[in-house]
Amino acid sequence: MRKRYISLIVCGALAASSLAGFAACGDGNKNGKPKPDAGTADDPIVLTVWASNDQQESVKQMCEAFKAANPDKVYDIKFGVVGESDAKSKMEENVQAGADVYGYAGDQTAALYGIGALSEVEPAVAEELRTRTGATYQLTLANGKCYSYPYAGDNGFFMYYDSSVVSAEEAKTLDGVIAACKKAGRKVHFDYTNSWYALGFAYGMGATYSYEWSGSKPTGFTTTLGDKGPDGVHSYLEYNGQMLKELAAEPTIQKGDDSVIGSSLNTRTVGAIITGTWNAGKVKAGFKAGWPSATYKDGYAATTLPKWKSSLDNKYYDWATMAGGKCYGVNSYSKNLAEAHKLAQFLSSDEMQLKRFQDNNIGPASATVAAMDEVQSNLAIATMLKQKEACSVTDGSKPQSYWDEAGSFATDMTGGTVTDLADRAAKMIKAMKDAVA
């Protein structure tokens, strides 16, 4: 019997030890420092670049120019099609398999930084970026440091108007525009329930907001929206809410998305449109002489946002746009980090920004390029850049709760259900704060 026990134990020990033996060998983890490519012909530096579908041709040419500018190394640049607004979700899927250099929408910086999809820009280069790009530079900041290269700075809104109906003088104030359009039987297009547009009044008065981030998670929200405005009684947000209420009640104002703009341009029933540069072509075609019938005159014009008068204190205030942009990020998991930074810097340089403008009508982030005649001749982009410098608030990283709360604030104010303005305004700020507490 004992012999059996012993033999059993021996068998078990044999089996177990063979298993345990393997635990000691083999390290399945792939960690450590990545080894960059050498840059010779048989070990070319492999870089992957993501750009949106429309910019593929243009970016390919830019990369060829980059290769020509760096003849001492051999590059192998691959391309992927990922739009700027998709960059965040694609990176989140698998950041280690993501591109080395990619364009992304400026308000994704915090999220991308949190998952490690952005690597810090060399401080000297960052300083140069700051002086060159002005307001767009704010978008690249995470933890106070610069983490990407801005290349487009034309995301925001301003006002187009039909100069055959609205004069330049009338276009200086919102009530002027409304009156002129009413006289001509036209509408003024302003999507006031859209959370991106809705708070422009408060920000125009000087209110600010900011989010603190810990990685990809928002940890705090500070704002001066709730501070008392010039009349000492109502807060900036209440001014904004009151204005929204009045606009909603004004029959000359129409709201809706781009398709509504499109259809009202087709029938030229609109006299002024608050929107951004992406609709420039449509508006130009819609305000052309002879469209939609011979009696119509040429009227393509654009200007910075008009001043608006608040009924609370009968004073005029400025109107601010959200100022966004696009940046090139360098993936911190890139195998060829230094080269990727070089490429990103090249792609966001002034020459490339000019080329991007020429190819795809993308407004530059660099102030130098923006001042060029060629860029200034594009009315929409010139107006947008002017508005950005004149009156804007950074369209930086925000959690979804910001959009949700602002949107529901706008919907409530314009729905006519709010009786207590101060209460509703305070609720929005509190909700935004609670969402990230």
Binding site: W50, S52, N53, D54, Q56, E57, G80, V81, V82, G83, S85, K90, E93, N94, A97, G98, A99, D258, S259, G262, S263, N266, W278, N279, A280, G281, K282, K284, A285, G286, K288, N361, N378
Partner: protein
Amino acid sequence: MATKTKKKYRSKKAVERGTNIAIYIILVIISVVWLFPYLFLILQSLRGEPGATTNYFFPKQWTFGNYIRLFQNKGIKMANDGSTFVATTGQYNFLRWYGNTLLIAIVVTVVQTVIVVATSYALSRLRFRMRKPLMNLMLILGMFPGIMSMTALYFLLELIGLTQKMSILGLILVYVGSSCMGYYVCKGFFDTIPRSLDEAARIDGANRQTVFFKVILPLSKPIIIYTILTAFLGPWGDYMFASLLTMGQPDYWNVAVGLRDMIQRESLANWQDGFQRFCAAAVIVSLPITILFFILQRYYVEGVTGGSVKG
């Protein structure tokens, strides 16, 4: 007396005719309601004017241009000065997407049919110890929300290298990998084939494999066609997983990912005919499937009713 019965007979017929007319009206309304969106789709795909949406139903200009541009991978863009011109749609390649999806669908159909039929037969006819527990297990495995499993499958496939350029193979593997869980309908059908046929064959000396191939399968044409049909339909609609596997490589997209991308707001804003081309693409994707379905609808019905419909 005779007049009385005549009257009763006539009024009954009148009532029946009245009901029939009412039913016809309802059926016409139903047909219109059901076909309305597809009519909209087809009309939009033939619309010539630029712009995404309109406030009228029938196009003002009719054209096949959207289809032509779809196949040429071109679209109509608006220049900075308001004029329109035809430009390539960048990396979009509809025919390639269609080809990818067709390839995936064909391979999946073949493999999945084999797996489903084999599993159904085993669970229906063969008796082994783990049969009932296995059926219960497969029932509840299907109840897990599959969202996180996509992440797991993605990394598994990445381990073997079946993502990006090899994503077609990866997708096929994932689709057929779990297809044995869909045995339910097929097994129901097999259950209705009388066991006496099996027994007769076994008495004649056939082993179970022969019974399967020579007795059961010939009788199962309806359910096999049903299985083929449902297996074929599957891959056309998978957006989430396909987009995950083919990160940023439009050449390897399937039609679902491609269509989804075409109807994004930015795509519609950039192209004057974006929506129309989307509708054209949707029509092209739906047409062969519709025809296939139309031809094989009898088998589909037989399958769904679990074989209780027998000649």
